[in-house]
Each structure stands twice: as C-alpha cells, then as structure tokens.
C-alpha cells in the first residue's frame, strides 16, 4: 500500500510539473516570436482574453470579472479581447486550448501567466500583483476597499458591542 501511495504522490507531482513546464514553454514561445497584438500598448500591463460567441462561462463569469477589474483599475490595466473564431491563428499561436483563456502580460509586453479556464477577479488581481504590476496606487485602492470591510466586521452589532 505504501508503494502505491508513493506512486500516487509521484504521479501528482509529475502532472503538476508537466503543466507548469508546458505553460512556461508556451509563454516563452510567445515572448520570442513577439506579441503580435496590435491592441497592446507598452507601459501598461494587459490581460489578453480569448473567447468565442458560444462560450457561456465567458459571458457569465469571465466577462463580468474582467469588467469589475476594469471598473476598479480603469486605464491601469488593458483588457484585450480576442474572438478565437475570428482569429483562430492567433489563438493557436498562443496555445489556446479552450475558452475562456486569459494571459497576464506585463507592462513591458512579456507574457507572464496564463489561466486555462475561468479566472476570478481575485485571481487576476493577485496574478498582476505577483508580477509587480498594479503598483502603489492600485494598492491604495485595494486597501480602501478592504479597510472598509475590516471596519464593518469590527463593528458587528450582532455581538452586542455597539
């Protein structure tokens, strides 16, 4: 039984490593062959979003998440939307396997991350933060939003303190 447990762990770790490597290779290939995104403007991070007209989670989950991100960060983050049925070659070049797929691109045009499924607003935010985008201003917006939440929780009237 212990050998089987060991095998299970090895398989899981291997799958994880393969996934990360393959993502890395895809992103590297994009860096080398250039973004080829007319819509991308240097100096700002971007989220490249592949979708199709029939993709339901794109409309119901991904699009609203991107819109919320956009309404909070405005021009600080570019959202570039690509219809994979209109630009299938671009989708293939970016290694798109399904929709929605979102790529995180930094302000120097380097693809730094990918989500092969729906990505929540939180996840996208944390990915942008990890690569060092969304600097001090954005942090300030975020902490204003979360400070209010903390304040409200501290003053929970149901515990009888206020």
């Amino acid at each position: 039984m212990l050998t089987r447990l060991a095998i299970a762990i090895v398989v899981i770790i291997t799958v994880w490593i393969v996934y990360r490597m393959w993502n890395y290779v895809t992103l590297q290939r994009r860096i080398r062959s250039g973004l080829r995104l007319d819509a991308y403007q240097f100096g700002r991070p971007a989220i490249l979003y592949f979708t199709t007209p029939d993709c339901v989670p794109c409309k119901t989950i991904q699009q609203p998440a991107l819109e919320r991100l956009s309404s909070i960060y405005g021009n600080r983050v570019q959202i570039i939307k690509v219809d994979a049925t209109i630009q299938p070659n671009l989708a293939d070049a970016w290694g798109v396997l399904s929709v929605p797929t979102t790529f995180i691109i930094d302000s120097e045009g380097r693809p730094r991350g990918v989500n092969h499924g729906t990505a929540s607003e939180e996840r996208l935010k944390s990915q942008l933060r990890t690569i060092g985008e969304l600097g001090a201003e954005a942090e300030a917006i975020d902490s204003k939003i979360s400070a209010r939440a903390i304040y409200i929780r501290d003053h929970d009237p149901s515990d009888g303190t206020s």
Partner: protein, 139 residues
C-alpha cells in the same frame, strides 16, 4: 393608454432600424396622469448587453438609469417606461422579458425586419407579473 407624439414615435422606430440586427433600447420620458400616460421625449441608450448577444438581448445598467433620472429631472419629466426592438421577432414580450420586467413601466416593443420598423405595441406588467397590452395612441 399611452400617448406619444408622432415625431417622438419616429425616433423609437428609427432607433430600432439603426440598431438592426441588434436590439436597440432606450427610456421613455414623460408624465403619468392616473391611467393616462404621455411620452414627451425618449432617451436613446447603449445596449450594454454582451456584444455577440445583442441580436436578442438588451440591457440598461443602473448607472445609466441614474444618469437618465438626472436628465429627466432636468426636463421636469419622469421615466415612465422602456422601448426596445425585436429584430425579426414579434412586437410582444418574451418569457425572458417577463422575468426581468418591472411593474408600472410601459414597455414599447417594436418589431424590426430587414431594417424596417414594422409594428410597435405597448405592454404593462400586472401585479401578478403577467403582461397585458396597453393601448398605444400616436398623435
């Protein structure tokens, strides 16, 4: 009964024709006197529904509603209803319309085929949340 001046009505039809094959939508501004409603102006708005789905869906967001209310106040009018078009579909409310409709508003629906406005009908949501037709008088 809802009354609408012919030039204002023409704007509604034109809106539907211009947006074809997508749905066009906007708000009716006017006054209500008991059972009598008068449309004095229309506000044309952007269909905020997902691009790609606008041939059979429309949406006016709350932020746009707030701006519309300000505009209505400026003009001394009220938002009394909504107009929208049905490209290649009859001028009557669908189940999707019914689930999302508000009471009290007049819903003027215009059937548009091949870029021509064919027919417009007005509808009101009852207390039981069904639609009943409202007489539309163009003057």
């Amino acid at each position: 009964m809802i009354h609408i001046p012919v030039d204002v009505f023409a704007q509604i039809q034109k809106n539907g024709e211009e947006h074809y094959p997508e749905e066009g939508a906007g708000l009716l501004l006017g006054k209500v006197h008991g059972e009598k409603r008068i449309v004095e102006q229309v506000l044309q708005l952007q269909n905020r529904f997902q691009p790609g789905a606008r041939h059979n869906r429309y949406m006016i967001e709350p932020q746009d509603m707030l701006l519309a209310e300000e505009k209505a106040d400026e003009l001394g009018l009220e938002i009394i209803g909504v107009f929208h078009s049905h490209p290649d579909h009859p001028a009557q409310p669908s189940e999707y319309d019914r689930e999302r409709a508000l009471p009290w508003y007049s819903y003027i629906i215009t059937k548009v085929t091949d870029q021509s406005a064919i027919e417009s009908r007005s509808w009101r949501l009852t207390d039981e949340r069904t639609f009943t037709e409202e007489q539309l008088q163009i003057e």
